[in-house]
Subunit: 456 residues, 2 copies
């Protein structure tokens, strides 16, 4: 098994060439202009899988962006691993903050720089290469299926329906996913919890046209002022979300489990320094790790209205907008929460404005039990490569499809993520360290060996 290291070393320039081809495709799922790029990315993935040794790989249409499905079935009696990844990426705004061209990947300072370098093109590509190695060296211990989708960054709105229609095809013992991060470079971890998500666009309308702020200022409600008022009170002084009923289904975490979670290494000074902030802010009575791991939160992801250009235009705009998101914990149902917020907004809107709330997407939270055989195989694989047992960790992020796999396919997922906090996913200057890229491929190979019961 030392040969995986040699294999990576011998093939690394080809690996980069192949990955960079994928990174150069601007497959931004939130932008309808990039629809064709998603097909280019899908085409690219089918070629990657076939070249790596898949029996077949094809593009399937969904109601939205396409998905890629590929497989290699070595023995129907052996266990099956379903690898999930996504080929879509986030937008690149604010573009002016990038030090490199987002879709022109480069290697510098031991890292790959570019949109998708980590999330999730870089991480999902590692699976193709681990698979390739095992095929070429006759080391496959399980059947392997690949499902690569194109709508993860917009909440996978069409994947659930597609999974419903293709349950047979997707039958597996475990779903294996690399779309999360480790706690730190030297603190391997496995994500055992994910937060759910609901996301809305709020539109406040005042007068039927933009008005002169001098002639009308003081007489008419200003949609921006009103939007600020509506948004300012969604979270109170103690960090509690004020939507009535919001906490009803939140699963309380036992003191024992909180004590265990508190053991994850966390240095507040380093954390603040890395973010350049003087103080943290969050829900009263909970630690930072708890605030992101076991508690729901509400964030405004965007806001706009009126004059936003250079200089000083005086205007009362007709409309103002906000994008609002909540992260949910297991047992909170996102569709129930989505409705709750819509109703709440309508219940508090004053009569001098109107408010329209569109639910843009959502997903449920997830918890993975640490006694699953697949979890234990993952644990051993990390120990083998990183020399340390990984920490089970509840992430604040959301991967909506994980609950789809649980509910529709009745299959649990193992989240073996190799990202780092410094990878700037969803931000300018996304990057992925080569060390994680290489170690990741190696760790995945070991996972299959332990999970398939090979003599190692």
């Amino acid at each position: 098994m030392d040969s995986i290291k040699s294999y990576i070393e011998a093939n690394q320039s080809r690996f980069f060439e192949e990955l960079f081809g994928l990174l150069r495709i601007p497959s931004i799922s939130s932008s309808s202009e990039n629809k064709q790029d998603m097909y280019r990315a899908a085409e690219y993935w089918t070629k990657l899988l076939l070249a790596a040794g898949a029996d077949k790989a094809e593009i399937f249409e969904t109601a939205g962006n396409p998905v890629v499905y590929g497989e290699k079935i070595i023995d129907k009696n052996k266990p099956t691993v379903l690898v999930y990844g996504h080929m879509d990426v986030m937008p690149v705004d604010p573009i002016e903050l990038w030090n490199t061209v987002p879709f022109e990947p480069v290697i510098k300072d031991g890292k790959i720089w570019g949109r998708g370098a980590d999330d999730d093109k870089g991480q999902s590509f590692m699976h193709a290469k681990a698979f390739e190695y095992m095929v070429r060296n006759n080391m496959l211990t399980t059947n392997v299926k690949f499902l690569i989708e194109g709508e993860e960054e917009i909440g996978s709105p069409n994947l659930e329906a597609w999974c419903e229609q293709n349950k047979e095809l997707l039958t597996a013992d475990i779903v294996l996913v690399s779309d999360t991060s480790m706690i730190a470079r030297d603190v391997p971890s496995i994500t055992t919890g994910l937060r759910g998500l609901a996301y809305w666009q709020v539109e406040v309308t005042g007068p039927n046209k933009d008005l002169h702020s001098g002639l009308f200022g003081g007489a008419v409600a200003n949609p921006i002022n009103e939007l600020c008022k509506l948004m300012a009170n969604l979270v109170d002084e103690n960090g509690h979300i004020t939507i009535p009923g919001f906490y009803d289904d939140v699963m309380t975490v036992s003191d024992a489990e909180r004590a265990k979670l508190a053991k994850a290494p966390f240095n507040e000074e380093n954390y603040k320094n890395a973010l350049g902030i003087k103080a943290l802010k969050g829900e009263k009575g909970f630690s930072t790790t708890e605030r992101t791991g076991i508690r729901p939160t509400l964030d405004l992801c965007g806001i706009w209205g009126g004059f936003t250009g250079e200089g000083a235009k005086t205007v009362i705009p007709s409309k103002a907008f906000a994008k609002v998101s909540v992260r949910l914990v297991p047992n909170q149902n996102w569709t129930k929460i989505a409705k709750m917020f819509e109703d709440y907004m309508q219940s508090i809107v004053p009569d001098y404005i109107t408010v329209k709330v569109n639910t843009l997407h959502g997903g449920q939270g997830y918890v993975c039990p640490i006694d699953l055989p697949a979890y234990q195989a993952a644990e051993k694989a990390f120990l083998k490569v990183y020399g340390k047992e990984p920490v089970p960790f509840r992430s604040g992020g959301s991967i909506g499809v994980i609950s789809v796999f649980e509910n529709v396919l009745n299959t649990k997922s193992i989240l073996m993520g190799f990202g780092l906090g410094s990878d700037a996913i969803h931000s300018p200057n996304e990057n992925y360290p080569l060390e994680q890229f290489f170690n990741g491929i190696e760790t995945l190979v070991w996972f299959y060996q332990y999970f398939g019961g090979a003599q190692v």
Copy 2:
């Protein structure tokens, strides 16, 4: 004097041609890209004035955009009228709401449509034509000076210094301005009060980069949420501005004067219907006319931050911004208020974010006494053309230079505005009714006759 009507009728197609040439120049003062257009507009104005009969007309440089100065001196012993207007216009966003091309004027439904049709190209152009008529018919009763500037819509930041340097040139008995509106088509009015203005850009900074809202949501203050909190409380539930000391210098208006102001016609249902709103909102204890006329107000003119594109990107942005303006009443000093707001923001900013406040511009308020001879000449002119004595009216708008004329040139201004509330100035689909355009020219001619003491 009936001949002014005939003159307008005989020359109207030339008037339109000349005005449209001016309207086609996109002289947007808040946009540095349009700097050259301001010079084109200035060039155009010098030609207009010389063609109308000015002795001279030239372009003067200032620290910012140029100004045009022109004059015709008939007799040094006669009174002098200084006509003030501006050749710059507001931006045209949101462009998609225009029914016509903003800088391609058209006549439709008895109105001129286009950016600047009223504010202030259309209104200031009337002065050139009234002047032309009087020159050609030997009817000038006063000396006439023209000052046409290019920075009114950004608060005239360089005009005060330029007036200081050119006091001699600008010596006059009265400043005459058409840059305001009448109460209604059949309710002529003269603006006797203007509000002052202060305008800031507020920048809230949280983390030093955009963050993943799942991984960091709940642990770190979100600049958009925080901006909303800061902005939401600037005006309280009673419509009072909460900046400490803000009302200290507000001049209280006597009950007698409030009673007089209450006589201006105002129909709340019509007002609400025209704006498409169900209810009004403003300072408790004051009528709508008072709220815009004699009371200061605060409006957010713009807000932006985070993801504002199509779809649902989850992010905690590093920064969020707002443009904040206040309208001030006479006796409130805008530089004092500007500092007050800057200090207030710094005093309430929590330690988990930083806030930067830039004062972008400002101007003082103004009051015109109704016993001025020039006011009375204006009153007679309106009565002559509209058949009704005009209502003295305190406008909510701001024309910063009016207080400059008062303080630097020691000269009062008469605000003979012919705009209507439906002209959509500063908004999409700006327009100016032909009726007002023609009546305006005629009324201005009468003003000169009464003010200069001609036998009429």
